[in-house]
């Protein structure tokens, strides 16, 4: 049936091309010129006379860093550069296929974006949804990590295997399974709860809840395994001492483990923030491209709909750039906050 008249399925085909902005700003700026000075004494030329304070040897670390920098440059900086460039142009399908020349628009894409009510709604929904996901993921992950240390080998193995299974499941598969579990007509959840053909994806919040459950389910294992490894590395005397002092489980976690595990917690928090802010597949699959009347759109899906479904690549790029800046700001702000409180990472 080739009826051209049928409205295209929202975002018809799932392309393998990621949405703009997925080039995650995984914090790389810490690899700065810090090792420079330490590399000096073991200079490359022990036989030659010392060269005083000249910065010549300063290039050597860069030499070793070069392969990594080239890779990062090619895979991260260049795409981000293109993303930024496209966001300043008028760049739609007509420009891509050469029907019209690409025109420089300055900040017009951004003003258009910021004047759009829907963008602000989507941004708000994204922030709220990502925050909820991060909190739930961390809570579940940490709780299960503590649980792992308290149970015997076989249950622990079972829990680890279950978690690793969830971790290893591709998100598109997980989302599809989730969708089936909560299907109004055939899903076992409705049958179990005895709520007839209630549709979980119809209401805005119930649809978000469904996606949140899936996101937590597939991302808590990372938190759990990382925190579990951290707890195992904590000297047992400390925990024993705390227990002897009569501290409760909660108190031990609050006053003993959290400070010790802070570097690990920071990393899993930052990772979760980045992941959950950029969630795409789960929303796309479970709410069928953004839910009824776009009620479940998050920024990444919104950018995809703009860029690829309606071929407004420049607008999609602008959303990508905004996401990138928000994530950088959140991550750097968070790290700064920790620094100021005197914690070394």
């Amino acid at each position: 049936m080739t009826d051209a008249a049928l409205p295209p399925e929202p975002g018809g085909a799932v392309t393998t091309a990621g949405p703009p902005g997925t080039a995650g700003p995984v914090a790389a700026p810490t690899t700065g010129p810090a090792p420079r000075r330490t590399a000096r004494p073991a200079g490359p030329s022990p036989g030659r006379p010392r060269r005083g304070a000249r910065p010549r040897g300063g290039w050597t670390p860069w030499l070793y860093l070069a392969p990594a920098l080239v890779c990062l440059g090619g895979l991260l900086v260049y795409p981000v550069y293109q993303l930024g460039l496209i966001s300043f142009l008028e760049y739609t399908q007509a420009q891509v296929s050469g029907g019209e020349p690409a025109r420089f628009r300055g900040l017009a894409n951004y003003t258009e974006l910021f004047a759009d009510d829907q963008f602000w709604q989507v941004l708000l929904a994204t922030v709220g949804f990502a925050a909820a996901c991060v909190v739930c993921t961390l809570a579940v992950g940490c709780a299960l990590a503590v649980l792992l240390t308290r149970i015997r080998a076989i249950p622990r193995l079972a829990l680890l295997l279950a978690a690793l299974g969830a971790w290893a499941t591709p998100s598109i598969t997980g989302s599809t399974v989730w969708l089936f579990l909560f299907d109004p007509d055939f899903g076992p959840v409705n049958r179990l709860l005895g709520i007839g053909d209630h549709s979980w994806t119809y209401g805005r919040y119930s649809a978000f809840l469904l996606v949140l459950l899936e996101v937590v389910w597939c991302s808590f294992p990372f938190v759990m395994v990382t925190v579990y490894a951290g707890i195992r590395a904590v000297p047992s005397e400390i925990l024993e001492a705390a227990a002897l002092d009569g501290a409760s489980q909660w108190r031990i976690w609050r006053s003993v483990l959290t400070p010790i595990l802070r570097p690990i917690l920071v990393i899993v928090t930052v990772q979760s923030v980045i992941w959950d802010f950029k969630v795409f597949t789960q929303i796309y699959v479970i709410t069928n491209g953004g839910g009824i009347a776009g009620q479940n759109l998050v920024l990444n899906v919104y950018a995809y709909q703009k860029a690829f479904a309606s071929s407004q690549y420049s607008l999609g790029s602008a959303i990508g750039v905004v996401m990138l800046l928000i994530l950088l700001a959140v991550t750097l702000g968070y790290l700064r906050l920790l620094r100021r409180r005197g914690e070394e990472l």
């Binding site: 049936m1 080739t2 009826d3 051209a4 008249a5 049928l6 409205p7 295209p8 399925e9 929202p10 018809g12 085909a13 392309t15 010549r56 290039w59 860069w62 030499l63 070069a66 080239v70 440059g73 260049y78 550069y81 293109q82 460039l85 496209i86 142009l89 760049y91 739609t92 399908q93 007509a94 420009q95 891509v96 296929s97 050469g98 029907g99 019209e100 020349p101 690409a102 109004p184 053909d197 209630h198 549709s199 994806t201 119809y202 069928n288 009824i292 009347a293 776009g294 009620q295 709909q305 703009k306 479904a309 309606s310 071929s311 407004q312």
Partner: protein
């Protein structure tokens, strides 16, 4: 060593900047060449049951190759679902692009703006068969007075209904829109397991007849200066009528708000709906379903009793790509693929309605099932605005969003249609 390292950074940067000054655009200029031999590539859509189509097409290609010595045609059947990506890619990379494509008629204006389709006005007007092309089909290949292809077939929708259900409940076939809605609700009340009339919040082309029948329009104006009319009083009447079908008394919003055209036809074919709005192209799917033998088709009723609601004239066209290096041959192949003879054979093979009025009448005489569809076409059809903005409006789901907002109770008809009109005007403003 140090020297070279010192230079690598700036050099790499310079190289990156030099190659990266602008994002990629393909030079999709029309080809100067007009070769008379060689291989022509054709992309046609892959149908659910493609065998009969292939047989018809193969016969056309054999005739073409015979008439033009030294030519060879390779045809590829591409899936409809991924057509957008394939065709975009073809526009982006003329080297791997085909010479002739089949495309959906709502895509015409967008493809023209993308610079992908060749202007074939002269060839089309000089074609002896073209005079019998029906006006709506002709409009669907025309942008700004220029012709960009030949109509291949048309598709229209009509009302499928279950004869057994209506007989059992003692209901007659609806003669007007109001009666259609009340009949749907009566069926649902008597048989809660069935949707009265299966409707979908994402089924734009099933909803549009309600708007057109009430005198509403998608947009007014001409190419280049369209303005949305979806929030006019008449259009709102139609929107109200269509959205009144969502609810527990006909088609529960929780399920039907997300449905598209195919979903409603599937619901009907599997016996879950007593009525549905389906196309002539849905015939095979319904025949293959549970309801075979217990259904009939009539034109979708309009507002006045006995009238027919204007249907959307969907369908496909055959076009020549601007980048082809075999323009003359490609145009000839286009004509052969869309000729009266081929369209007649395609109708027999696939049930596609011909775009030539005379061929269509002959077809209707042969196959009674197309009678309601031909009547619908004869009663007058409507088309989407011939603007590249339409592709954008369609793909950014402006109308489905509007219907879904109303049926899920987020906005009332006035607000939702006002917002949709604003989005449409933005699109018309930026894309023409």
């Amino acid at each position: 060593m140090n020297l070279s390292v010192r230079f690598i950074g700036p050099l790499a940067l310079a190289a990156a900047l030099a190659t990266a000054c602008a994002p990629q655009t393909s030079g999709n200029a029309s080809s100067d060449k007009d070769e008379k031999t060689g291989t022509l590539r054709v992309w046609l859509f892959q149908e659910v049951d493609n065998q009969p189509k292939e047989r018809v097409v193969d016969a056309v290609l054999a005739g073409f190759e015979k008439a033009h010595g030294g030519t060879d045609v390779s045809v590829e059947y591409i899936p409809v679902e991924t057509r957008a990506q394939r065709i975009k890619a073809a526009f982006n990379d003329p080297k791997s692009a085909p010479d002739v494509i089949e495309y959906g008629n709502t895509d015409t204006a967008g493809y023209v703006k993308d610079g992908g389709l060749a202007d074939v006005t002269k060839d089309f007007n000089a074609w002896s068969e073209a005079k019998d092309t029906d006006p709506t089909a002709r409009q669907s290949v025309t942008v700004d007075g220029k012709v960009y292809g030949a109509p291949y077939f048309v598709g229209v929708r009509a009302l499928y209904y279950r004869t057994d259900v209506l007989r059992e409940l003692g209901l007659r076939v609806p003669k007007s829109q109001a009666e259609l809605i009340s009949t749907a609700k009566k069926i649902r009340a008597a048989k809660p397991g069935l949707y009265g009339l299966a409707v979908g919040g994402a089924y734009t082309y099933g909803a549009m007849p309600f708007i057109w029948a009430n005198g509403g329009e998608l947009a007014t104006g001409r190419s280049g200066s369209y303005a949305s009319a979806i929030d006019s009083p008449d259009a709102r009447k139609g929107i109200k009528a269509y959205t009144s079908l969502f609810g527990d008394d006909n088609c529960p919003a929780a399920k039907c708000a997300v449905m598209g055209g195919n979903d409603t036809v599937t619901a009907f074919a599997s016996g879950k709906a007593a009525m549905a709005i389906g196309g002539d192209f849905s015939h095979a799917a319904v025949e293959a379903g549970k309801v075979k033998g217990t259904y009939a088709v009539v034109p979708l009723p309009g507002v006045k009793p006995g009238s027919i609601a204007p249907a959307f004239a969907g369908g496909n066209n055959i076009g020549v790509l601007k980048s082809t290096s075999h323009r003359t041959l490609a145009v000839d192949l286009m004509k052969r693929l869309a000729s009266k003879k081929t369209q007649g054979e395609l109708f027999d093979a696939m049930g596609f309605l011909p775009t030539f009025t005379d061929v269509r009448q002959q077809a209707a005489a042969r196959e009674p099932f197309v009678k309601p569809f031909v009547e619908t076409l004869a009663a007058g059809t409507e088309f989407v605005p011939a603007s590249p903005a339409w592709a954008q409006i369609d793909s950014s789901l402006v109308l489905p969003t509007m219907f879904q907002e109303i049926v899920s109770g987020k906005k009332d008809v006035a607000h939702a249609s006002q917002d949709a009109a604003k989005k449409m005007d933005d699109a018309f403003g930026s894309a023409g």
